[in-house]
Amino acid sequence: MVNLTIDGIAVQAAPGTLLIDAAKQAGIKIPAFCYYEGYSLQAACRMCLVEVEKFPKLQAACTLPVAEGMVVRTEGAPAVKARKTTLEFLLTNHPLDCPVCDPGGECELQDMVFRYGAGESRFTEVKHHVDEKQWSPVVYYDAPRCILCYRCIRVCDEGMGVNALGITNRGAFSEIVPNMGDHLNCDECGACIDICPVGALTSGTYRYQTRPWEMEHTGTICTHCSDGCKTTLGSRNGEIVRGNNRDSSGVNGEFLCIKGRYAFDFVQHEERLQSPLIRRNGKLEEASWAEAINLVAAKFGEAKGNTGVVGSVHTTNEENFYLRKLAMQGLGTPSVDHQRSGDVHTLLDALAGKENALAAVDDLYRAKAVLIVGADLSEQHPLLAFQVRANVRHHQAAVYTVTPGPVREDKTSAKAVRCAEANLLDGVRGLADELKSKGDLTILFGDAIKGQAVRDLVAFGDSLGIAVKYVCLVDYSNSRGAVDMGLVPGEGGLSIPQMLAATDLAALWVVGADPLAGGGLASKGAFVVVQDLFLTETAKRADVVLPSASAYEKSGTVTNGAGEVQRLVKAASVMGAKPDLEIFGLIARAMRIDVGRAQNEAIFEEIRKTVRGYNVPLPVIATGGAARTQPLNGRLGSIPDPSQVRSARDTLFTSGALGRYSKILKQVVEAPGALYEG
């Protein structure tokens, strides 16, 4: 360790630590615009200049490694004077219109000028002005506000692997330019906006909507893909106006994709259902909750065990658990199912008895080698792809891709193998010798690997003789939770295709799913009840439609694809819609069925006691952390038919039914996007 003194405090730091980081460890915050942890060094802004004894000039703390016996003063008169001068220069062309500037109140330049009291300027020249530009529906750029810190360029190049931003001209005329000349073609993730210290890059959906201090900020879990990113939703009067990641405590740190940052707009879509509907004379008409619930209860009472129940991949663990219990114990039907998008069951079975064989999101950042089989990670699982990129950047991890087409990971991979989905395992086997030499390996696989192929993949992993962890990639925010809560057919129960094909099914209960989108229901007389946000294809066929609340309008827990349980926190409310759990409770009460209280905390306690792997520490969940489930304690009793595992193959710009009601996802030029285009 290296010993040094910063502002009179004795500090110890590992050799090679940058002075700015060493100071941070000691609780001393050296100001900087261009320096950003995790990205390459720039040394462009000159804000972090500090005095170092025996150095004739001030030194940039962001690029200076610590040295033995170094004596540093971070806030001495020379450093403060230099910073004031830097700020004076930054403000020469910067508009001084903070009261009407979008990031006012969240602007690092504003904060710095305030901190150093650099309010005076000797420049009397006319400011160089350039008009603001719109680069995409979500990104605006205002060049005069730009302080040229290069943060946006680096987060796009290094963090996202997109390389969509560059810088042109020089000196006072320098400005950031998008890759298509006058517009962007990129992931539209908005990371550049989030990382911008000033108001140069602003969000097309949020700008000039509100002031940051007028919002309520709610850290909850994104309801789109299965990566389980935490998104901080800023809401005003119960309406969500912004998604970002200011609460960087989630598994995603600061990362969000377009879905997490912008695609919350389905919540306020004008087609949201806000009243129960009952079919009268062949037409769906608005009805009261009491009427609708009583009708459902009466019909379910008649149908009893001849009811098919289809659960959701977006509802909470509590809801899924309660739905299964209500269906199996209350109605007495074993026909419970949901659309599975990855063969988690076979993986868990194949890994029976092994410990630490399931990778969490964090493991992708630490694994020495990563093998991606049959998935376009950057498109389908942007957070996992971001973690792998960071791993390559920081730890030189070896990445291998075995996919049917080119993927973004190829660029940084040690080897990219192309093979058809049917022979992915052949491609994997060809890598055996190389993989053996790595210290450990994490394997991610998509829905093409299912049934016996999963067992073969695990057998391959075992044959390598190194520690191997797996992630079975699934589609949506609680796809994994639906599996874990057992939304699969019980003894003698029907699967979804069997329910649709059964000619004598008396009732079909669909919660947040759209099984009839692809075809009709064979049983013409079946009483169909649908709980959903929108009038889906299935809802159009329903006899009763109950408007349900989205994940952003309720609390509970969800489990991401890597098996981490996280808490949802209510951020918005839509009049007329009820959380599915509340609806289940109303139905149970009307049917006089007692399967326990329909209340989140009580059900989660039951989940912790009865669902294997879910005995997670409550404080982790309660404080908004991600708790890993460890379900590997024995063989599974029965495994549902792997042939029904099917991913929707969503891209960055589609998100199943929710995506259809997100205007922003459809507005961007890249939509709908495609997999395997590199």
Binding site: N163, A164, L165, G166, I167, T168, N169, R170, V177, N179
Partner: protein
């Protein structure tokens, strides 16, 4: 996009002079040489150079935006560059500049209507000892006076 055989040979030699995997080091000279043949950095040229140097087109645009000697639009057949930096300024560079502007009827980075001459006010061109200095394409002219400038312009028009 292909270039003349002579330029292709030159570019091939250029790429060989850097270690393998460092083709991007050839970016600036390659832009210079190809600009001399093509006239200016067209979109197509930027893409071609990007491909050959293994960088993105955006990175080529960054370099073209940064260096004034690389141009993203068509200039005159002769590019007349007049230095008004300190050494030249002290001995009449400014007067040369004003004279050229009024004589040609164009300003900084503009082209005459017939496309023969373009004008650029440049910073130091490294000929301070012989100030005031001007440059026509790659040719230097030293100790230039207003009269000599007139003759240079007349000669340029004659040649064309």
């Amino acid at each position: 996009m292909t270039f003349s055989p002579r330029l292709e040979t030159k570019l091939a030699r250029l790429l060989e002079s850097y270690p393998k995997g460092r083709e991007r080091a050839a970016l600036i000279p390659m832009l210079m040489y190809t600009q001399d043949e093509v006239g200016y950095i067209t979109k197509e040229l930027a893409q071609e150079v990007a491909k050959r140097c293994g960088v993105t087109t955006l990175q080529v645009d960054e370099v073209v935006g940064y260096y004034t000697m690389l141009r993203d639009r068509k200039m005159g057949r002769t590019h007349l560059q007049i230095c008004t930096n300190i050494s030249c300024l002290l001995v009449g560079g400014e007067e040369l500049w004003k004279h050229a502007c009024s004589k040609l009827g164009i300003g900084h980075n503009q082209v005459t209507a017939d496309g023969s001459i373009s004008l650029e006010e440049v910073e130091c061109i490294g000929a301070c000892s012989w100030a005031p200095a001007i440059q026509t394409n790659y040719d230097f002219h030293h100790h230039v006076t207003v009269e000599r400038l007139d003759k240079i312009i007349a000669d340029l028009r004659k040649v064309q």
